[in-house]
């Protein structure tokens, strides 16, 4: 088990190296000069050239890359030239809102999607099934920013039940924290819920035809126990995969929703840093997001073993 985790962690190195190279190249090849952005349009070319020299932007690309990478390996992700603080610090100060939002959105999605998927599978072909699956199709197709804006219009502007936008940290009080997160979490979680519900349905349909379900029925078990004890746990592996993947995208891909709802999270940090040409922040943040994405997948892989004894690693 320990050996397995170690192996998995080691296999992250090449993945992250590729991510680092790609991110670095994309940023440095796109036009736009951080020095002139920082100094503003009125700066003279000489001032800009001096700042470029100071920031090391005149060095050859490979030298800039190796010096950045050397820092990263030692845990130094660079210095934000705009915020004038270590990249790691700005990352963690923006991580809280994103994590809260992602967890809340995911909980909402899972708690809705699994029962809906199970019911749809149980009543496949009926009106209920078709309604749920039609609804999930809408969930997949409607972009999150549009859903976000519609939600704001209805619940914040018209009904005035919830705040329009903004973010309150957890230490401002749990309920206030949640109040601000409800709309963005729905906007963000709708697509995940739809994906999970569809996966739950198809996985359950497979499992409900399995022989051991017939065995369970022949024992005289009640339908509820057959579905929730015998079928759902077997159907859960593909569901868990989807949950893991969508959670990864929630952490990484909340940029749009964070912008719509003005939440100071990682997404906003990346978008703003791109506008400011704050290279170190973009590079560092994307690399850190990639790391968390891969770690989430590792956790999901380990959870498979908890659900299904056949994939357990620590065999006697």
């Amino acid at each position: 088990m320990k050996g397995y985790i170690l192996k998995r962690l080691l296999s992250l190195i090449p993945v992250l190296f590729v991510v680092a190279v790609v991110v670095f190249l994309i940023i440095h090849i796109t036009p736009g000069d951080p020095a002139s952005v920082m100094l503003g349009p009125e700066a003279s070319p000489r001032e800009v050239a001096e700042l470029r020299e100071e920031l090391g932007l005149n060095l050859p690309l490979y030298q800039q890359f190796t010096s950045w990478l050397a820092g990263v390996v030692q845990g130094d992700f660079g210095w934000s030239i705009f915020m004038n603080e270590p990249v790691l610090q700005s990352f963690f100060s923006h991580l809280g809102p994103t994590l809260s939002l992602a967890i809340f959105a995911q909980l909402l999605a899972v708690m809705l999607a699994i029962p809906f998927g199970v019911i749809a599978a149980k009543r496949r072909g009926t009106i209920i099934d078709q309604t749920f699956m039609g609804g999930s199709l809408i969930g997949i197709s409607v972009p999150s920013f549009l859903l976000g804006l519609l939600l704001i219009l209805l619940f914040a502007v018209q009904l005035r039940w919830l705040p329009v936008a903004g973010y309150k940290p957890l230490n401002a009080g749990f309920f206030l924290h949640i109040r601000y997160l409800i709309l963005p979490a729905i906007a963000l979680g709708a697509m995940q819920a739809a994906l999970i519900a569809r996966m739950t349905r198809s996985s359950m349909l497979d499992i409900l035809n399995a022989n051991y379900i017939k065995t369970a029925r022949s024992k005289g078990l009640r339908e509820k126990i057959i579905i929730y004890k015998h079928a759902l746990r077997n159907a859960f592996i593909p569901i868990l995969t989807v949950i893991g993947q969508t959670f990864g995208t929630l952490v990484a891909g909340a940029a749009v929703v964070e912008t719509v709802f003005n939440i100071p999270g990682i997404g906003q940090l990346i978008v703003n840093s791109v506008e400011r040409r704050d290279f170190a922040v973009i590079q560092g943040t994307i690399l850190l997001v990639a790391i968390s994405y891969v770690l989430i997948n590792l956790v999901v892989d380990l959870l498979y073993g908890v659900i299904d004894p056949r994939v357990r690693l620590n065999r006697k």
């Binding site: 399995a210 051991y212 017939k214 065995t215 022949s218 024992k219 005289g220 077997n234 299904d308 056949r310």
Partner: protein, 340 residues
């Protein structure tokens, strides 16, 4: 007269499919007494498994309709409520299935699955249920059951899993056991062990047993009575010995002739029943076997024969059984029965 445990009267099972209504079982009759093993034989697709699952009503009831009667101790299971059925399943009537590899839930230990059954139907606590489960596993010949009980199905061999299935099915001492091809998926040596085990436990618990099989060897070995099915219908019912020595129905005759013999001329080709089983969408209107039958005449093609009492212990569904029976002078099947 012994008591009738199970009586199936003119059972018909219809499926509503996208291509229309299909009648998978269309006129099945048989009776099981306590301590008796009734074999249900037929080739793939003849409706024997559907018959077995109809008894416990395990088919998806949204698309299934039943007709006729299934009387368990005089009570019609087809009109019972779902709660009544759940009380019967696993408690009065148990079932074991064809494929032990996929019939146990892979994510729970075998102990968990047996105990679940015991606690469902009996008023015992968890510890007593575990003790009972270990005892049942020991009874089915599983070595060191107190260890095995904590293992998962994938850690056991096919034969062991079938023993677990048997232990689970018998854990509440049912009056009737339905075994749906319990040995088909097992290798030959394991097959006979499992059959012996079922036989032994049947005697021990005085159970009635319905043995669904396509293997006449299994019938010869364990059954007292046999029901032959063809395309959803019972075409012959008989005690095992008479069936093997002198079949009434041409289909049964064909089946028996297609058993390979260990003795005699090896160069002789094995008997084959000509033609194919029609699908359920194109059932012949007369006798269902007529298109493949050497004795068929116009009447056979036009009118469906009823299952009639041929003599005291035998029934047959054929217009010509008397002539065929008289024609079949030489009866090589006694030796077939004895060779098992």
């Amino acid at each position: 007269m012994e008591t009738k445990l199970l009586e199936v009267k003119n059972l018909k099972t219809h499926f509503n499919t996208e291509r229309g209504r299909v009648t998978a079982v269309d006129g099945v009759f048989f009776t099981v007494h306590a301590g008796e093993t009734v074999g249900v034989v037929g080739e793939s697709g003849c409706g024997k498994s559907v018959t077995a699952e109809s008894i416990l009503r395990l088919l998806d009831e949204k698309s299934t309709e039943y007709e006729g009667e299934i009387l368990y101790k005089g009570k019609n299971l087809l009109t019972s409520t779902i709660n009544e059925m759940q009380a019967v399943r696993g408690n009065d009537i148990s079932m074991i299935f064809q494929d032990p590899m996929s019939s146990l839930n892979p994510v729970y230990t075998v102990g968990n699955q047996i105990v679940e059954s015991i606690m469902l139907h009996q008023n015992v606590n968890k510890k007593e249920a575990y003790e009972k489960a270990i005892e049942m596993l020991r009874l089915t010949g599983i070595p060191s059951p107190e260890k095995r009980i904590h293992e998962y199905p994938h850690e056991l061999s096919g034969g062991m899993r079938q023993r677990v299935m048997i232990a689970m099915a018998l854990s509440c001492q049912p009056k009737l056991l339905i075994a749906d091809e319990p040995t088909t998926a097992l290798d030959v040596t394991t097959q006979s062990q499992i059959l012996d085990l079922i036989n032994e436990l049947k005697v021990k618990f005085n159970m009635g047993t319905v043995m669904i099989t396509h293997d006449l060897g299994v019938v010869a070995e364990v059954c007292t009575k046999v029901v032959v099915m063809y395309l959803g219908q019972v075409i012959e019912e008989s005690d095992v010995r008479s069936l093997f020595s002198s079949p009434y129905h041409p289909y049964t005759d064909g089946l028996l002739k297609s058993i390979p013999q260990l003795t005699g001329d090896r160069s002789k080709k094995l008997h084959v029943i000509e033609g194919k089983v029609p699908t359920l969408h194109q059932v012949p209107k007369g006798c269902r076997f007529a298109p493949r039958c050497a004795f068929a005449n116009e009447k056979c093609h036009d009118e469906m024969p009823e299952l009639v009492q041929a003599d005291t212990s035998r029934k047959v569904r054929c217009w010509h059984y008397k002539e065929i029976f008289q024609a079949g002078e030489e009866s090589p099947y006694v030796s077939a029965a004895d060779s098992y």
